[in-house]
Symmetry: C2
Subunit: 228 residues, 2 copies
Amino acid sequence: MVSTKFIDQLSTKYKINFDNPKLLEEAFTHSSYANEHPEAGIRDYEKLEFLGDAVLELAISAYLYRNFSELNEGELTRMRSNIVDTEGFAEFAQKFGFPEQINLGHGEEKAGARARKTLLEDVFEAFNGALFLDQGMDAVKHFLSLTVFPLIDAGKFDASRDYKTDLQELLQQDGPVKIEYTVLQEEQTPSRFTVQLAVNDQVLSQGQGHNKKAAEQEAAKAALTKLN
Amino acid sequence: MVSTKFIDQLSTKYKINFDNPKLLEEAFTHSSYANEHPEAGIRDYEKLEFLGDAVLELAISAYLYRNFSELNEGELTRMRSNIVDTEGFAEFAQKFGFPEQINLGHGEEKAGARARKTLLEDVFEAFNGALFLDQGMDAVKHFLSLTVFPLIDAGKFDASRDYKTDLQELLQQDGPVKIEYTVLQEEQTPSRFTVQLAVNDQVLSQGQGHNKKAAEQEAAKAALTKLN
């Protein structure tokens, strides 16, 4: 269950107060826990994630529209997907102490789901969905001003940031190289792609993302980290 | 230019009043017109479309979340994409007299762009983006309560509605049939896919959409209309 300490921290450090604590609990409940504990009567976070995904999309789009007026529509779109399709959300979830609060079933706990980036992304979205329902869009914007917006301003999601191109340039400095991205796994609802990257038939890295493109970018990013 | 008659109609019939008429003008300006008339100093609608896309996504997600509590996350997601990925927006644009207001360049006018569904979809999104900026989310919800929401309630975008599956069932009543979807064209920014549908190597229909899946659904829908 979400701890009192965590709730206090949200309030004192970040001025986030939930009127309905059940929504907060729901945002932190994985389906494996809800299935194992029907007596708890908590729904899993998936519906809040559905809503939170759209909440984040609009909050971030409006922020980009207002603060990056020099960018054209294509650049704005690319920057938006750099933000919402990467592992950034998982990092925020970690920074804010979300992992410890997640209600997980035994099997998933054993499998290490608590540290799984895709799960942390989901919880970050669900949390924003809950915050939107409970406190409205202004509260979400306030939360994002503590998390996502400063990194946007610092250029972390720069529209020109394209890991696949960077990797290609790095690898092909001394002549042509065969770079291959293969989809290993494709999950639906929520959609999750796992892509493998091979260079000259040697597997180099993997990446995960909400769509194929995002997963490829993550694989390229991981390869760059390995090579640098 | 957007006519006074249209602006009056928005106000009297739908209680929609823009404080900043330049935003309304921008929502109806295609890039071909902006390019041909730099002296007019109007930006094309693409940035408003970027914003409007996210505005509609959230307004519709929140409506579904609140009014279809019996659906699970997968069904909600499918229903949402049935709404935002289909030609529905173009129909509303037509119904509300949007086509006549669009500022188009000569070439595009000759090519029949004024009746092009994908362009009408874009303008519908841009209009909602402009309305959001000028009047806020409540005004958007009011507009959607006159357009999209009643059709959602009437079951038009039912989660069970899947044209590809319907087509497959219809065609394979008397045994196996080869159904093939081929991407003919893929445009970026804004993304636009054109898919061709062939049955037993005979081309039957085409479909367009914001992504491959949506374009395939449109192709299947067109084929069903032809066959029924």
